[in-house]
Symmetry: C2
């Protein structure tokens, strides 16, 4: 059974709090979804803002290869002909081959929100779809508040979807607009809808009860063959059904032979790119990844509990419901006070340090102490690697701080920032040298980084190969606000694409950043000596 | 039907990546859960680390009022008597009235992980429970990998829970340890377990398929009367079932008369504190709240789409599945390019500015422009209120920057930070004055805040009433790392408890922080003049 996957990340997903896509963002995401075999990509609401209208022009100039582009709109306004409605004009002008029209299913919404007669609403649905079909468009009908409306007045709800089907809609999509329905209700009313119309049914769910994915699966098991949702579950309020979880569950967990995203090898290939897709959309949307996200989160296959890690080392599948690789994710072993000796052994083995009980004890104690100060090594494996090497007396610093000095001044306009760094740079073969350099920067950390690199590049030219790719600041005991300790995590990337995280903690964000900068550079230099390891690439 | 709620935030929740509870944290959370009517609070694994052992001593000294304290442990080691097992000793020494024992259900895990005979595993379950019962403890049995184990070998799985029941366990809890089960499987095997043992059944689910809540609900509908989970769904990998969603769904959505958390008024009261509980646990765990979290997230009842907001203003329930107040949450109207005129009107009405079309257009355009620069007003309503007042020409600055200067220096030890601020302070009644002050601080923003307050306190003593309570930094275009733009959001709180958010964006974190600091203070001063509004209290 083929299940159509309809993505509305660019329209319903963009309604999510904190989600803002530029025109370029939207085009990039649409092409990525097209390449992965999605059946439909909804690009936006042409009438709502110029950006969405322009998006469709971009896709006319360079169409998607396989996915059908959908433009979203509402049923015509009351009391006018569809042809005279500005919304219809915008939809036609978008030149999108598929138009998705949302209409009212619920008697309550027809009366209270739309404020038209029940008959006029049926006419608005029928006229709108018939007009768009006459203009050569394929029309998908989104039945807003389908479940709430059906529970309130089943006869009228059935009439609304019958009006859509009679007017030529190719799909009738049952929307749980408020996200308040339960799986058993969704299954029952999916069967009821199937009895009311011949047209293939779709399901569109929201996560207000934390049941969006369960509701989508329940509807498919009850006969729906089209699923609408968003990547990473982006969307208004609690978000839409996360298509990543929907697809992974339908393909990997359900034993009913559902096929999607092209099926066969193309489906398997798409599944192996789900983690990449998730990260890509977060990056483009400029949002942080959600660690605990099902299937694709950085923590989804991360093992922390000592007992579990111990088992993992013996039997991989013993604490994993699927192989991480099947969705493009990877297993991670975390470092924490809870994880006990077996994690430390796993990490230190990774660092090619032979098992050494005294060292294990020292590392474990140090990690616990530092975690209590606010350090976290779970996203800073490079700092952890250096910590282990220090405790193993297998580390010699390549340079030492004499002093740094950072100033930022503004006279109303944009500020000037300058940093000076004075270092003692070691040279095992020759003389230690003192380097004292100054740099300007866009901000204090950028200026410090600049001065630090100037001071080191003569002795360590390979530092030119690495760059900082992310910089995060987190207040630890936020009660004290700007006087609180802060944790800085810096992510660096090498020429070969390896990335590593380092951490610094201090009351002073400059000092915490300095610690993370120094760890990042020392890690790179150790790595060159073939003794780094523990990267996160 | 009474459903028991069993919280394991302090044990299974603490296995989550990035979750670290101090001893004090654990005691605070346990007492809060106790006050809300939770039936069981699992405190930890006494054998695993001293912190957990100490936790139980704290609760012996001052016991919980209603909830039963549970200590977690494993079945005895192979080949020894339960009485000789160090784990048993630690559990007895914890003096917890209830002991939760996890044991193996799956033939695969018995052979591959535990590496004992199937018979020895049954003996380990029976001996352990019988011993703890003989020591006067109530024993809850967690059947690890129950669903996977039953699917593999139903006869053996049944024997393991029968061994637990025969030995005197008061509950048999079916654990979906790997989080890989589907609701229909959970329902079916719950009925199978009910046929195999007389003991009341519990359900313990994980969110690896984004189905933890659906699985818990399916099990309860099939006969389970005890639910284990964590607050906010904290837990290893993708987390445990979020008890907040479980409780809200059972109490508010299911029409089956489930009673929990004391039932009646006590249940309704607990529900109205769910949002507070969620925020409290995040704060203590030092984690950011998840905006889209079902029921209790800051975005759960936030409306952004123009059409929706328009409807909300007419019919509140039209786009809400429950009243936000029923779970202690609140409706929010967001500001965004997508939301159109109706949102802006809603906000400006809130600011007591009469509807003014030209102003609406100006605000809408300015918001769109600034959102493109990286500003976000969704968490910074105070900055938005000031923006609207500026565009309405209803704002006169109380002071102007002449210059600021911030320096941070380290000579290896902890750094020194100093800020100087020179302001022109306005006085409508009298002369403008120039204030030039200096302050030291734990960091640059703290020092700037100190100097700014020194410069203003003479003219505006009321500033002593407000404090900064949170400070967040977010890199916007993180590709450019330390040279990227950063968004700073500062949350401030007034003496009366009102809190407000302000935002600043710049390539320089100092300048972005300065913008947010100035907005925070100007908002407070406007508020004093009875013209602020738009706070987030």
């Amino acid at each position: 059974m083929h299940i159509e996957i309809y993505d509305t990340t660019l329209r319903d997903g963009a309604q999510g709090e904190g989600v803002n896509f530029s025109l370029e963002d939207k085009v990039l995401i649409a092409r990525r979804l097209d390449a992965m075999g999605f059946d439909y990509v909804e690009g936006g609401y042409p009438l709502s803002n110029p950006k969405d209208a322009e998006f469709f022009q971009r896709l006319v100039a360079e169409p998607l290869k396989n996915a059908k582009t959908c433009a979203f709109g509402m049923t015509r306004r009351k009391g006018i002909a569809a042809a005279d409605d500005p919304g219809m004009k915008a939809l036609i002008e978008s030149q999108a081959p598929v138009v998705t029209i949302v209409g009212k299913t619920s008697e309550f919404h027809v009366r209270e929100v739309l404020q038209v007669s029940l008959e006029e609403n049926l006419a608005m649905i029928g006229d709108t779809i018939a007009y768009l079909v006459s203009e050569g468009r394929e029309v998908i009908y989104d039945a807003e508040h389908f479940f709430d409306g059906w529970k309130l007045n089943p006869e009228y709800a059935a009439k609304t979807i019958q009006a859509a089907a009679d007017a030529g809609a190719i799909r009738v999509v049952m929307c749980d607009t408020n996200g308040g329905s339960l799986p058993e209700e969704v299954a029952e009313l999916t069967r009821a809808a199937a009895a009311a119309v011949e047209v293939p049914l779709g399901i569109h769910t929201h996560n207000d009860c934390e049941l969006a994915v369960a509701n989508a699966l329940a509807s498919v098991d009850a006969g729906a063959t089209h699923v609408q949702g968003t990547i990473n579950g982006l969307g208004e309020r609690c978000g839409n059904a996360d298509l990543i979880s929907v697809v992974a569950n339908l393909a990997l967990k359900k034993k009913k032979g559902y096929k999607m995203l092209g099926g066969g090898d193309s489906q398997a290939d798409a599944l192996e790119h789900l983690t990449e897709l998730s990260g890509y959309v977060y990056e483009i949307a400029n949002m942080l990844r959600r660690g605990a996200q099902a299937f694709v989160g950085p923590s989804a296959f991360a093992h922390k509990g000592g007992m579990h890690v111990h088992a993992i080392n013996r039997v991989a599948e013993s604490y994993e419901h699927i192989p991480p690789e099947s969705v493009g994710n990877a297993r991670r072993i975390l470092v924490s006070e809870l994880s006990g000796r077996s994690n430390i052994i796993a990490m230190t083995t990774k660092l090619n340090l032979q098992e050494d009980k005294a060292l294990m004890d020292a590392v474990l104690k140090e990690v616990v102490d530092r975690e209590n100060e606010g350090y976290q090594y779970e996203a800073a494996e490079a700092s952890f690697a250096l910590l282990v090497r220090k405790l193993a007396r297998a580390f010699t610093p390549h340079f030492e701080l004499v002093k740094y000095h950072v100033t930022t001044e503004s006279r109303g306009g944009s500020p000037l920032t300058e940093a000076t760094v004075k270092l003692l740079v070691h040279d095992p073969e020759g003389e230690d040298t003192v380097e004292h350099r100054v740099a300007e920067g866009d901000g204090p950390v950028n200026a410090l980084d600049g001065a630090l690199r100037k001071a080191l590049k003569g002795r360590f030219p390979q530092l030119a190969e690495m760059q900082l790719v992310d910089y995060k600041v987190r207040v630890i005991n936020s009660e004290a606000a700007t006087a609180a300790s802060v944790r800085v995590v810096i992510e660096s990337r090498d020429a070969d694409g390896e990335t590593w995280g380092t951490v610094g903690v201090d009351e002073n964000v400059i000092q915490a950043s300095w610690q993370a900068l120094v760890d990042s550079i020392e890690y790179k230099l150790c790595k060159e000596e073939g003794a780094g390891g523990g990267g996160q690439g």
